[in-house]
C-alpha cells in the first residue's frame, strides 16, 4: 500500500490555487485551511483597496508594485482593468492616460474618455473626477498590503502544489512510522 506521508506534486491543486486564493486547498480536501488562507489573502487584498481605493492597483503608473500584486491572481488584473478603463481618461494636452485632478470630470469622447475642466458652478455642485486617489503614505500602505497579499498567496500556491502530507485529511503520525519501518 502506498503511503500518504510522501510529498507528491499536485498540479491541479496548484492551478486552482493560482485562480483563487485558498481554492487549491479545497481541492486537496483541506477545507478549513483553504478558507483560512483565503481570509488572510483576500483580507489583505480588500484592506489595501479600502485604504487606497481603486488607485492602489495601477499597472501603468506603479508597474513594479503591480508585479507583486499580480501574485494574488486574476482578481488584481480585473481590478486593474476596471481602473484603467472606467476611472482613467486621456489628458488632451499631453496625450497621457491618467487619473483625474480636482476640478476635472471624465467625459466620453467617441471611442475614448478625456478629462475636461469644470466651471466653478459645477465644482460647487459637487462634480469632480470619479475617484479620489490615495496620496503619500496611505497610498504606499495600500499598495504594500496588496503586495503582501500576493506574497502570501505565493506561499499558499506552493503549499497546494506540493502539499504537506501531515496536513492531508486522514493523516496520522502512525502512517509515517509505518512507512519508515517498511522502508528500513
Amino acid at each position: 500500500m502506498q503511503s500518504s506521508s510522501t510529498t507528491e506534486l499536485n498540479p491541479l491543486a496548484g492551478l486552482v490555487a493560482c485562480v483563487f486564493p485558498g481554492a487549491g486547498h479545497l481541492v486537496l480536501g483541506q477545507r478549513k485551511r483553504g478558507m483560512l488562507a483565503m481570509v488572510g489573502v483576500m483580507g489583505l487584498f480588500f484592506f489595501g483597496l479600502l485604504i487606497g481605493g481603486i488607485d492602489a492597483i495601477d499597472s501603468k503608473e506603479n508597474r513594479v508594485w503591480f508585479y507583486g500584486q499580480m501574485l494574488v491572481g486574476p482578481s488584481t488584473i480585473v481590478v486593474d482593468q476596471i481602473h484603467q478603463k472606467h476611472f482613467k481618461a486621456y489628458d488632451l494636452r499631453t496625450g497621457a492616460l491618467r487619473n483625474g485632478y480636482p476640478g476635472e470630470h471624465r467625459v466620453e469622447d467617441g471611442s475614448r474618455a478625456i478629462w475636461q475642466p469644470l466651471t466653478q458652478a459645477q465644482i460647487e455642485s459637487g462634480m469632480g473626477p470619479p475617484n479620489l486617489p490615495g496620496l503619500g503614505r496611505l497610498n504606499e500602505i495600500a499598495m504594500l498590503s496588496i503586495v503582501l497579499a500576493g506574497m502570501l498567496n505565493l506561499i499558499v500556491v506552493i503549499d497546494a502544489l506540493v502539499p504537506n502530507p501531515k496536513h492531508m485529511p486522514g493523516w496520522s503520525g502512525n502512517q509515517a512510522d509505518d512507512s519508515a519501518k517498511g522502508g528500513a
Binding site: G22, K32, R33, L36, A37, V39, G40, V41, G43, L44, F46, F47, L49, L50, I51, G52, G53, I54, D55, F87, H105, R106, S125, G126, M127, G128, P129, P130, N131, L132, P133, G134, L135, G136, R137, L138, N139, I141, A142, L144, S145, L148, A149, L152, I155, V156, D159, K166, H167
Partner: protein, 82 residues
C-alpha cells in the same frame, strides 16, 4: 460625476493621522493566512495567530525604536547641523 460622497474601495480613506495603526489589521490578516499554511495542528491555530501577530508588531515596534534612536540621537551627534 458627484464626488462628495465617499465610495468604499473606489476612493482613498482619509486616515492620514493614524496611518501607523493600519499595521495592526495588516499583521492580523498576514498571521491568519500564514498560520493557515504553517500550523501543523489547527487546534493550536488561534493561539499561533495571536503569537505571530504580536511577534510582527513587536518586531516593527523595535525597528521603529531603533530608527528613532539612529535618526533622532546618533545622526545629530555624528553630523550636527550648523
Amino acid at each position: 460625476m458627484n464626488t462628495l460622497a465617499y465610495t468604499p474601495f473606489v476612493d482613498a480613506l482619509a486616515v492620514h493621522s493614524i496611518w501607523y495603526l493600519l499595521i495592526i489589521p495588516m499583521s492580523i490578516f498576514l498571521a491568519i493566512g500564514y498560520k493557515a499554511i504553517r500550523c501543523s495542528d489547527l487546534k493550536k491555530y488561534p493561539r499561533e495567530v495571536v503569537i505571530f501577530t504580536i511577534q510582527v508588531l513587536g518586531g516593527l515596534g523595535l525597528l521603529a525604536i531603533a530608527f528613532t534612536i539612529v535618526i533622532g540621537v546618533l545622526l545629530p551627534m555624528l553630523a550636527p547641523m550648523p
